[in-house]
């Protein structure tokens, strides 16, 4: 099992390529897309994605809008915002919409990995709790 299943979303193709190579090297399963619409499609197709690394500034549907859609459609998927101009305001806005955290571009790989780990752990714990609740529900029903 990989360390994490990640969807990397950014309109800068070379950035996506370089970062995905580096993440893969760190035992992370990386899917990529280059805009918000595409990312939502990927999430729809592949339910294994645990964390989305999402650029804020993108043409068409921007990061904040995409985040809103993800939270709506895939509430269990965690999102780490990546922004060129990290301001407290954008960070707070992202967090308000349910982002796990935000990082400034260019970001330190170790910091990113740490954040990813935290996000995956949170997600998995969340899922475990859901499973536990369901098992409990089934067991209670049978009894």
């Amino acid at each position: 099992m990989p360390m994490a299943n990640v969807l990397l979303v950014d309109d800068e193709v070379p950035f996506v390529e370089a970062m995905s190579r580096r993440l893969k090297k760190r035992d992370i399963n990386v899917l990529t897309s280059f805009n918000g619409f595409e990312a939502l499609g990927v999430l729809e197709e592949d339910r294994s994605v645990e964390v989305v690394i999402l650029d804020v500034k993108m043409p068409g549907m921007d990061g904040i809008e995409t985040l809103g859609e993800i939270r709506k459609k895939f509430p269990l998927v965690e999102v780490i915002m990546l922004t060129g101009h990290a301001t407290v305001e954008t960070g707070i806005e992202g967090m308000k919409l349910g982002a796990f955290d935000y990082l400034m571009k260019p970001c330190d790989m170790d910091v990113l990995i740490d954040k990813l780990k935290e996000a995956v752990a949170k997600k998995r714990k969340h899922e475990e709790k859901i499973i536990e609740a369901r098992v409990k529900e089934i067991t209670t029903r049978r009894a």
Partner: protein, 578 residues
């Protein structure tokens, strides 16, 4: 720190404009105020002149009419006195001198001592009886004009004034009657002085007097001794007798000496005598002349008042307009400056964002190389350490780029002037770090000594940023060639009206000359070369700080440096705690 003046040339350019503006305002006020005053005064004066002239004319005519009636009734009365005496008593009775004397005494006692004497003259012109102070018995009047005229008329005859045998001015009232078919005349001489009084009493003002003329233009009464009447007007009256009959006429004439006189005339004694009243026009119209004088004085004083008021008012108005123009000019320049700053901010934000992405890619790619180098087969390479060093360097520089772009973005973000809670220390650090690069090239060290317990302050971040950037840039400009130190300090002090936040920006540059120190906050004051400085920087700073309720001042010592002290009021402690 240097600033200089470009304000004076601006003032000089506008001097002509304000001068002509002031002149126009002055003239407008004067014309608008003085013209109605003069028109109203002239119209009132004209009306007054006309009505006063009419009043004087009416008054003089009434006066002459009254005296004409008086004199006519005097003559009539005296004529009937003598007439009734002649009718009552016969020639025989009257020829008795003692009876005649008695009759004279009765007349004088009964009426008035106006009759001087009485005489009875027979048809041959011989005075047969005489009662009076002169010795005129047996006097012969057959050749006297009055005797001839009296004999010709059937009525009472009143002669002109003449000297006669007695050598004194007098006139005669003669009544013709018949006795035994022979005509005889009862004659009475009137006291000239008494008659003269009737006319002489007509005195108005200083120069008004009256007199009587006969048809030949000879004086029948004595005119005023100090006035020599000009004959011409009387001759004119006499010539126009037909037109003047029964009327009282007034004319104005200027005599040979240039004096304007008023003449009012009326015929007496059935057109034989002319009663003339004469007065100098200047005397008759004294009140009018006084009114003219008063009006002139009022107009003069009013004009002086209006002119001084116009002078003061125009001066005040123009100085206010000039002040407003200057404020307007400053405001528009300030808006241009603010607009420029916003445009620079936007540009910086665009560049920063565009630069950030390639930097991020570079950093990621260098990271990727780092990852690859860590693979086992390359571990043996002798240059591995050098590769790692180079990659670390790329990473470090990438982070530096990130910092620069983030600073630029943070600067651009603050171009709106909304008031919000800000930490002034943070703002000062940002401003200092923005200026650090420039300072480094000029060999200037920027240091901070900030009070870490500053509360959040409600101000416009962009405006305050503009103020501090401006102050630091001024210091940098002043020490660009020499290098030096800039210290930024914050401190809370307890003032009279509560707590204040003091921000000091201190340099050790060349200082500001004393003469310039008082002008540095004036708009358009600059010591920078033409085209380099607008002279608005410090004036805008001053405006911003004043708007925030604070103050800004400069302290400077030549070659000792300059300190700008910004004081901002802090909210009261009780308020803050609550």
């Amino acid at each position: 720190m240097k600033e200089n003046s470009s304000m004076e040339p601006v003032e000089h350019e506008n001097d002509g404009y304000y001068h002509s503006l002031r002149r126009n305002i002055l003239l407008t006020i004067i014309i608008v105020s003085i013209t109605p005053m003069i028109l109203v005064s002239a119209s009132i004066l004209y009306q007054f002149n006309v009505s006063y002239g009419e009043k004087i004319e009416a008054h003089l005519k009434t006066l002459v009419k009254k005296h004409k009636q008086n004199i006519n009734s005097f003559l009539k009365e005296k004529s009937s006195d003598i007439g009734s005496l002649a009718k009552t008593f016969s020639f025989g009775e009257m020829s008795d001198e003692s009876f005649l004397k008695d009759s004279l005494t009765v007349l004088q006692e009964e009426y008035d001592p106006v009759f001087v004497d009485l005489g009875v003259i027979n048809s041959r012109g011989v005075q047969v009886a005489y009662a009076g102070p002169f010795n005129l018995r047996e006097a012969v009047y057959s050749s006297a004009e009055w005797f001839r005229k009296a004999m010709e008329t059937n009525k009472v005859y009143v002669s002109d004034v003449f000297l006669g045998i007695r050598g004194l001015p007098h006139f005669i009232v003669a009544v013709k009657d018949n006795w035994n078919g022979e005509p005889w005349i009862l004659r009475a001489t009137t006291d000239f002085a008494r008659f003269n009084d009737l006319v002489e009493n007509i005195r108005i003002g200083e120069t008004g007097f009256a007199f009587i003329l006969n048809r030949e233009g000879e004086f029948q009464t004595k005119p005023l001794h100090n006035i020599i009447p000009t004959k011409e007007p009387y001759a004119g009256f006499l010539r126009n007798e037909a037109n003047l009959k029964g009327k009282i006429t007034l004319i104005e004439r200027t005599d040979a000496t240039g004096i304007k006189n008023i003449y009012v005339a009326a015929f007496l004694k059935g057109g034989e005598w002319l009663l003339v009243y004469q007065q100098r026009a200047s005397d008759a119209f004294t009140d009018l002349r006084n009114a003219f004088k008063v009006t002139l004085v009022i107009i003069l004083l009013g004009s002086i008042g209006i002119m001084s008021m116009a002078y003061v008012l125009s001066k005040k108005m123009v100085s206010r307009i000039a002040k407003m123009d200057k404020e307007k000019q400053m405001m528009s320049s300030q808006m241009v400056e603010t607009g420029k700053l916003a445009a620079i901010g936007e540009l910086a934000a665009g560049i920063a964002h565009e630069m950030n992405n390639p930097v991020a890619i570079m950093v990621e790619e260098s990271g990727w190389i780092e990852d690859l180098l860590s693979e086992e087969d390359l571990k043996e390479s002798e240059n591995l350490e050098e590769f790692n060093r180079a990659l670390r360097q790329i990473n470090t520089q990438g982070k530096r780029c990130k910092e620069i772009t983030h600073k630029l973005l943070s600067f651009a973000r603050k171009t709106d002037s909304r008031v919000q809670d800000i930490q002034i220390n943070e703002l000062l650090r940002e401003v200092a770090s923005l200026s650090e690069q420039r300072a480094k090239y000029s060999n200037i060290v920027i240091s901070t000594s900030l009070d870490e317990n500053l509360p959040y302050t409600k101000v416009s971040e962009s405006e305050l940023q503009q103020v501090f950037l401006n102050l630091i840039n001024n210091s940098l400009d002043a020490m660009e060639k020499t290098g030096g130190n800039i210290n930024i300090a914050t401190q809370i002090v307890n003032g009279m009206d509560g707590r204040d936040l003091i921000i000091r920006i201190e340099d050790d540059g060349c200082g500001i000359p004393k003469a310039n120190l008082s002008k540095i906050f004036d708009p358009f004051f600059t010591t920078k070369p033409v085209g380099k400085g607008t002279g608005l920087g410090l004036s805008i700073c001053y405006g911003i700080i004043k708007k925030m309720g604070g103050s800004i001042e400069a302290r400077s010592v030549i070659d000792g440096g300059t300190t700008f002290v910004v004081k901002l009021p802090l909210p009261k402690l009780e308020k803050e705690n609550s």
